[in-house]
């Protein structure tokens, strides 16, 4: 959610039950302003909170002018001092996929994972148990990256693509109408499109290239991995992800207010197909 409209967004996203305490909110308002100044971000998003056993991680992201460019991610333990996280790489994601369970809440914590590695020495094959240390920071980075790639949402029309390439915020976005807001196809993944090129030419002919340049949510597998509800008596659309429980996207139809926040344990719900 945009740091500019933090209070309103938190209020609208409060239907999921998890939010922020008043002192955290107040600290965020101040510290995100300073982060924007120091890092020269165009827009700062408060991404959410990952619950750990001993402490929580508060995550913020900074965007440049081009909304789809790689973002810088920062984390903080107390909403006041923010530290930059390294960008996620494939190896990180692969390495941390073996770590299960909750986050500890201590960034210097190291998970130990024993792997059986086969080493060849001459003709003999040794099997050694290698203990791999994985830092919690790495795990944090990869989890945030996975969540962004999988379930970050933006409504159709909020961004538009210029002919030169960069993607900008659409300042004349007035919000989805009520009928559009109830359809899953009006919401896009806020990431580089992956499935767009698989569309048939017939489908592509109906698309508006400046607005429909992202993947829509309706083709997500498994079907039904999004729960859409109207709250506050039809005045608010709330999308909750079932794949990463804790991600809430809200949008007030006919207004500009929209945003998403993740408050959860940082664990993927692998049982999703069985639970539906």
């Amino acid at each position: 959610m945009d740091a500019e409209s933090l209070l309103l967004s938190l209020e609208l996203a409060s239907g999921s039950g998890q939010g922020l305490s008043p002192d955290r909110r107040a600290s965020l308002l101040t510290s995100l302003m300073l982060v924007k100044r120091d890092y020269r971000f165009d827009r700062v998003l408060f991404w959410g909170r990952i619950l750990g056993l001993v402490g929580d991680y508060y995550i913020a992201q900074g965007l440049s002018e081009d909304q789809l460019a790689p973002r810088k991610t920062l984390y903080s333990l107390n909403c006041m001092e923010w530290s930059l996280l390294p960008p996620a790489t494939e190896e990180m994601v692969a390495q941390t996929s073996v770590v299960k369970g909750r986050f500890m809440g201590d960034p210097s914590h190291e998970y130990e994972h024993t792997e059986v590695q086969k080493t060849n020495e001459g003709e003999k094959v040794f099997e050694e148990d290698v203990v791999v240390q994985i830092k919690e920071e790495t795990r944090l980075v990869s989890v945030i990256d996975q969540i962004d790639k999988a379930v970050a949402v933006i409504p159709r029309g909020a961004l538009f693509k210029t002919p030169f390439g960069p993607v900008h915020v659409n300042r004349t976005f007035e919000g989805l109408s009520l009928s559009e807001a109830k359809k899953l196809s009006s919401y896009f993944h806020f990431r580089e499109p992956v499935q767009l090129k698989n569309k048939t030419l017939l489908e592509k002919a109906d698309l508006d290239p400046s607005l429909d340049f992202l993947d829509s949510l309706e083709h997500d597998i498994p079907k039904g991995s999004w729960s859409m509800q109207m709250e506050r008596g039809n005045a608010l659309v709330v999308l909750r992800s079932l794949l990463w429980p804790g991600l809430t996207f809200f949008h007030a139809p006919r207004t500009k207010n929209c945003g998403y926040i993740y408050v959860g344990t940082g664990e993927k719900n692998i049982d999703l197909p069985f639970m539906l």
Binding site: G15, G19, S21, G233, A235
Partner: protein, 643 residues
């Protein structure tokens, strides 16, 4: 028009001017220039360059096409220049930006005008200030009337030109007009013979262009002309910053608005109907107290109302970062009040919210008043008894078939495991009754009491809630019941596992013979300790031993108090089957669970409970009173449930 637009160089006068002229006429229609010119313009007496004049001539030549002049305009030469420059300003978006900082009213347009244009503009504005304000009124009466009457030299020429243009095309001998020739020679250059556009073809061309713009599109009744008028009106009214960069969006918006006009106030917006209905229902929540119940209300407030103080709890939860938002909490409070009025309730508590796929559940935990509940229990039991009778005729038929068949089908020896009886209400897992509703303002539905088999099965499956109580729960192993039963089972499990309180807050009541009771039964009641003095926050955070469960643990059997399933009831003994009794007798161990008020440090699974360091800092800052909320942090009631 066939002319190439947007030539940024000022010298390419005629094509731009032609386009500009039509634009000017359009804009004149739609805007009103307020002459708020500064005094500084007066100070600038810039001599007219020949170049300027030449260009001016060209502009003037183009004015023959203008039809926006009404007679009686008293314009001097400078006025003309002003008019041209204004024209240049208005039409010249492609002009290079200015470096003169003249604070003249049409500022954004000035930036796009030529430098010379501004200089002339200053003169014109000066003129305007001197009382030639009727120009603008004339501007607005476009496409009307005969040509204007220019007293000035050029203007006179121009006026004649125009007049002639209107009435009769007498192009050539205008230049030979002796009066005009004198004026021209005074200025000292040979003007219009150099280049003078023919008035008639010019005018014709403009008319053609306008007709082209006015033609309506095939799909709709909107013409480009009208659309551009709307667009420019919108821009001029709203005056957005940097209109060029949002031009495309504005264009799209204007078009959209044309095709989606605002509905008449006499008609209802069909899309908003459900919203309005929901708002009406919620309004009923707020207006409940009206209707001559003032006195009764006062009495209720004096007495101990069973409605909980939701706002106070919400405040504490908010400090911990858990909550539904203050207005939602208030609505829940009103909904609970409504529930208390509808049902004979002794105590009531907001248990929490369970998120579902399509709708969510708000759960209230209530205790009925003594004796009130029995009437409702009977209704629940009747269908259960009705279900038992069909079984016995089935067994008899089976035996008959066996006798008839030649091959005796082996009788299945499997007997379903004995049904463990559910707990009595007000005890164990059925200690409280639960009501659910989907949204505050919606009707409250009572959940049926939970049976042990439901709890046992609920432990083995993981399913999402859809939000509809009668939805089937399709799972493996199959769940005996609908979503209402599954919901109730999950509520029972959550309550039993996660409700905690600080050590010492509750204590056991003094009863005789406590220790002599069977180990399995345990104590099942507690009362508030009046001498509780509170534990410092640090100690509460550091050690789990300072927190205790105050709800009974549910045994693997599915009940809180153990029942031996093999104890035959009287009915079953009458049916006989002593043989099977001997065969099926198994050693069933009594299941024992941790007794009430066990500290959390005894909990199995170290990761399930965690103290929250953040809460410590919060608690220190806000001096919370001694009574800490008896709620477990590992699963606040407002979190999604699938455990």
């Amino acid at each position: 028009m066939g002319d190439p637009p947007s030539d940024p160089d000022p010298p390419s006068g005629p094509p731009d001017s032609r386009r500009r002229s039509s634009q000017v006429s359009r804009r004149r229609r739609s805007r009103e220039l307020q002459p708020t010119f500064s005094e500084e313009a007066e100070a600038e007496q810039i001599p007219l360059d020949a170049g300027i004049l030449q260009r001016s001539q060209e502009y003037l030549g183009s004015q023959s096409n203008l039809q926006g002049w009404s007679p009686g305009a008293a314009l001097t030469q400078q006025d003309n220049l002003m008019f041209q420059a204004e024209e240049a300003q208005l039409g010249g978006i492609e002009y290079p930006s200015l470096s003169m900082g003249l604070p003249i009213q049409p500022q954004p347009y000035l930036e796009e005008g030529g430098i010379q244009a501004t200089r002339t503009a200053s003169l014109m504005l000066q003129q305007l200030q001197q009382g030639q304000g009727n120009l603008f009124q004339q501007l607005e009466s476009a496409y009307q009337g005969a040509g204007p009457d220019f007293p000035g030299l050029f203007s006179m020429y121009q006026g004649d030109d125009l007049q002639f243009g209107h009435d009769a095309p007498h192009g050539p001998y205008l230049r030979d007009d002796p009066a005009l020739q004198v004026s021209l020679s005074e200025l000292g250059f040979t003007p219009f013979t150099v280049e003078v556009p023919e008035p008639e073809p010019r005018e014709l061309a403009v008319q053609n262009a306008k007709a082209y713009l006015l033609q309506t599109s095939v799909n709709c009744s909107l013409s480009l002309y009208e659309h551009l008028v709307n667009l420019l009106t919108k821009i001029l009214n709203q005056r957005p910053e940097d209109p060029l960069s949002i031009l495309e969006s504005l264009n799209r918006t204007t078009q959209w608005e044309w095709f989606h006009p605002k509905l008449d106030t006499t008609r209802d917006d069909p899309e908003m109907q459900p919203t309005y209905e929901m708002a009406d229902r919620q309004r009923a929540l707020f207006v409940r107290s009206s209707g001559g119940e003032g006195e009764q209300e006062m009495e209720e407030e004096v007495a101990d109302s069973p409605v909980p103080n939701v706002m106070e709890s919400a405040f504490y939860f908010e400090q911990a970062g858990v909550g539904l938002g203050s207005d939602e909490s208030f609505r829940i409070f009103l909904a609970l009040k409504q529930l208390v009025e509808q049902q004979p309730i002794h105590t009531c508590r907001f248990w929490g919210k369970i998120l579902g796929l399509r709708r969510s559940y708000l759960v209230a935990e209530v205790e009925f008043r003594e004796g009130e509940e029995e009437a409702e229990e009977e209704e629940v039991e009747e269908p259960a008894e009705g279900g038992e009778t069909p079984d016995s005729p089935g067994e008899e038929e089976g035996e008959e078939d066996e006798e008839k068949a030649v091959d005796v089908v082996p009788k299945p020896q499997w007997k379903p495991p004995p049904v463990i009886p559910k707990e009595e209400s007000r005890s164990g897992a059925n200690k409280y009754w639960y009501f659910v509703c989907n949204e505050p303002g919606g009707p409250w539905t009572r959940l049926p009491p939970v049976t042990p088999i439901q709890i046992v099965q609920a432990r083995r499956i993981r399913k999402f809630f859809t939000g509809h109580l009668d939805a089937p729960v399709v799972s493996f192993p199959p769940f005996p019941g609908t979503e209402a039963n599954y919901l109730r089972a999950q509520i029972a499990r959550i309550s039993a596992a996660t409700q905690v309180s600080p050590l010492g807050f509750y204590q056991f009541g003094e009863e005789e013979g406590d220790e002599e009771e069977e180990g399995g039964a345990g104590r099942d009641s507690y009362e508030e300790n009046p001498d509780f003095e509170g534990i410092p926050v640090l100690e509460l955070v550091d050690s789990m031993a300072n927190w205790v469960h105050h709800t009974q643990h549910i045994l693997p059997q599915g009940r809180c108090t153990w029942v031996n399933p093999l104890q035959r009831t009287e009915e079953e003994e009458e049916l006989g089957e002593e043989e099977e009794k001997a065969e099926g007798m198994e050693e069933v161990e009594q299941e024992v669970g941790p007794p009430l008020l066990t500290p959390l440090s005894e909990d199995a699974g170290s990761l399930r409970t965690s103290t929250w360091a953040g809460a410590t800092s919060t608690a220190r800052r806000t001096s919370t009173p001694r009574c800490r909320r008896p709620r477990s942090r590992s699963s606040p009631a407002a979190r999604r449930s699938w455990r």
